[in-house]
């Protein structure tokens, strides 16, 4: 369990955090949404103990030697060493098992190949993220903090990382906090969301509830949408292959039924929710 109570932090450039409180339970994946410069990284650094807050406190109920593991901003790796030696160094310095078997198990846990002997500088960003997570998981922390883990990854890399994060929460009961400014990615894997703006938490709640409460439009993909009579009753923005329909979430079942009765085969219907909507509505 990881809790931050009434955290505040100021720099010479201004206030980075103002009275922020956050809580993550074991096995829960929490998302922290915010624009660049909203205070996500400062909050993460405070939660990990890298930066001392001006006010407030961080509570971690743990007896382990390493309660929190994480990646802040980017995975910090020794680029001149290979993945094996990186794990060996980071495990070695904290007295964690650094034998061949343990290192290989750690690499396999995050889906990294054992046959890569070249320096980490040759790795793709996705592989570096995985190695960063492997290092964060050394010594079995109870909480994992991942700052912008999806940035720079391609869609396959994002999907694969989401699977790994889910697996870690479900199978190892790790409390995970991850940040992003990408609404789509974070809503796919988080149980609970916090929205941060200008150093303050402006919105929070279970992911589904938060999305349902703020959703105002849906993207509907189907052929021949332009000919639909049903859509004329809604505010619609036509795209090349889809239509963005402004409506409440509760209206969606009837809308889909009506489109089907018109003979329009809907292939996808996804909520369109932007970070700006979450921030604006809250403010």
């Amino acid at each position: 369990m990881l809790t931050g109570n009434n955290l505040s932090k100021s720099y010479s450039s201004g206030k980075a955090l103002n009275d922020v409180s956050i809580h993550i339970s074991p096995g829960q994946i929490c998302g922290l949404l915010g624009r660049n410069g909203a205070g996500k990284t400062t909050l993460f650094k405070i939660l990990c103990g890298l930066v001392k807050p001006d006010h407030g406190q961080v509570i971690i109920n743990s007896r382990r030697s390493k309660p929190v593991g994480g990646i802040i901003e980017r995975p910090g790796l020794y680029n001149f060493l290979n993945a094996y030696d990186n794990i060996k160094i980071f495990a070695g310095i904290q007295g964690a098992p650094a034998d061949k078997l343990s290192i290989e198990q750690t690499l396999l846990k995050v889906g990294l190949p054992l046959d890569r002997k070249d320096p980490v500088s040759n790795f793709s960003l996705g592989m570096k993220q995985r190695l960063g997570i492997a290092i964060a998981l050394i010594n079995d922390p109870e909480c994992l903090v991942l700052d912008e883990p999806f940035s720079g990854l391609d869609p396959i890399g994002v999907a694969s990382l989401i699977t790994l994060i889910r697996k870690l929460a479900e199978e190892e009961n790790i409390a995970i906090l991850l940040s992003s400014h990408m609404m789509g990615e974070i809503s796919k894997c988080c149980h609970f969301l916090y929205v941060i703006e200008k150093g303050e938490i402006v919105n929070s709640g279970p992911t589904n509830a938060l999305i349902n409460a703020h959703i105002t439009s849906f993207s509907i993909t189907a052929s021949n949408l332009a000919a639909s009579l049903t859509l004329k009753n809604y505010e619609v923005e036509m795209g090349t292959n889809d239509a963005r329909v402004s409506c409440e979430a509760r209206e969606i079942p009837s809308l889909l039924t009506e489109l089907l009765s018109e003979g329009i085969q809907v292939t996808a219907c996804t909520p369109v929710l932007t970070l700006e909507q979450l921030i604006k509505k809250a403010i």
Binding site: G70, P75, G76, Y78, G92, I93, Q94, I138
Partner: protein
């Protein structure tokens, strides 16, 4: 601490800059040897022509001991500058690559981590000076052989071959203490500054100012005797005709105390500072 030291050692061994440092020392030595081989005799003959008419010198004056003494003089600026750049990288590279954060996110105590870095920097410095002494000895003696040493320190001092060799060896040892001081200072600067290029500038400035202050008369005897810029050339005292071992040992002991003080200040600041 043992685990941290072995990790730091592994990093040092695997980094190419370690070998660049050793390579640059070899380049300096080679240049001195080539210059001495082709021009040394002419210069020495010109300088000592009159003296040779009055005194007998055993062997040629352009010998291994003189070459070792010339290489030793690179401890004034070239070698400390190289060492300060390399050892400050032990800390600045960690900041640049983000590994400082990664390490601090592990179950590692801050003071232990930075102390391990200081210890490795000291060991690396001693290794480099040892390497420099050994390679110079092998190259200079195999090319030029042994012989008496002539040194100009206020006046011309002459030492017999065996005496000269012993003095050179002790001078390297004393010089190593000065180099360790510079390296510890550069590591402390790196902790304060964090950025590599700025740290290099600060380290070079420190080196220049220290060398300038060495020549300044502070009037107050205590400062003239105990201020650290006045101690960094102790290795030169091994080439005065009359050796004052008490002074040499005291100066080195004081410089070691200054070194410990700089390391303690760096460790304290690192422990108190936020990471990132």
């Amino acid at each position: 601490m043992r685990l941290l030291l072995s990790a730091e050692l592994l990093k040092l061994v695997k980094q190419s800059k370690t070998y660049y440092a050793l390579g640059s020392i070899m380049v300096i030595e080679t240049l001195i040897l080539i210059t001495a081989y082709f021009q040394g005799s002419t210069i020495l003959d010109l300088l000592l022509d009159n003296l040779k008419q009055s005194f007998y010198f055993e062997g040629t004056l352009l010998n291994g001991n003189l070459i070792m003494y010339i290489v030793l003089n690179s401890l004034w600026f070239n070698v400390p500058l190289i060492l300060m750049i390399v050892t400050s990288g032990i800390v600045t590279d960690e900041y640049k690559d983000g590994t400082m954060q990664t390490v601090m996110l592990q179950a590692v105590k801050k003071w232990k981590f930075i102390t391990a870095k200081y210890i490795i920097a000291v060991l690396f410095t001693i290794l480099v000076i040892g390497f420099m002494m050994l390679t110079t000895f092998i190259l200079a003696y195999s090319i030029f052989g042994g012989g008496d040493l002539v040194v100009y320190l206020n006046t011309l001092n002459f030492f017999e071959a065996d005496d000269a060799f012993h003095r050179i060896c002790w001078a390297f040892a004393s010089g190593a203490v000065s180099m360790v001081f510079y390296c510890v200072v550069s590591l402390t600067l790196a902790i304060f500054i964090k950025e590599a290029a700025k740290t290099w500038i600060a380290a070079a400035l420190f080196l220049i100012i220290t060398t300038l202050l060495l020549k300044v008369d502070f009037v107050i005897p205590v400062i003239n005797s105990f201020f650290f810029p006045k101690l960094i050339d102790t290795w030169q005292q091994l080439f005065y005709y009359e050796l004052d071992w008490t002074q040499i040992l005291m100066n080195n002991a004081l410089l070691i105390l200054y070194t410990i003080a700089f390391a303690a200040a760096g460790t304290y600041v690192f422990h108190k500072k936020d990471i990132g």
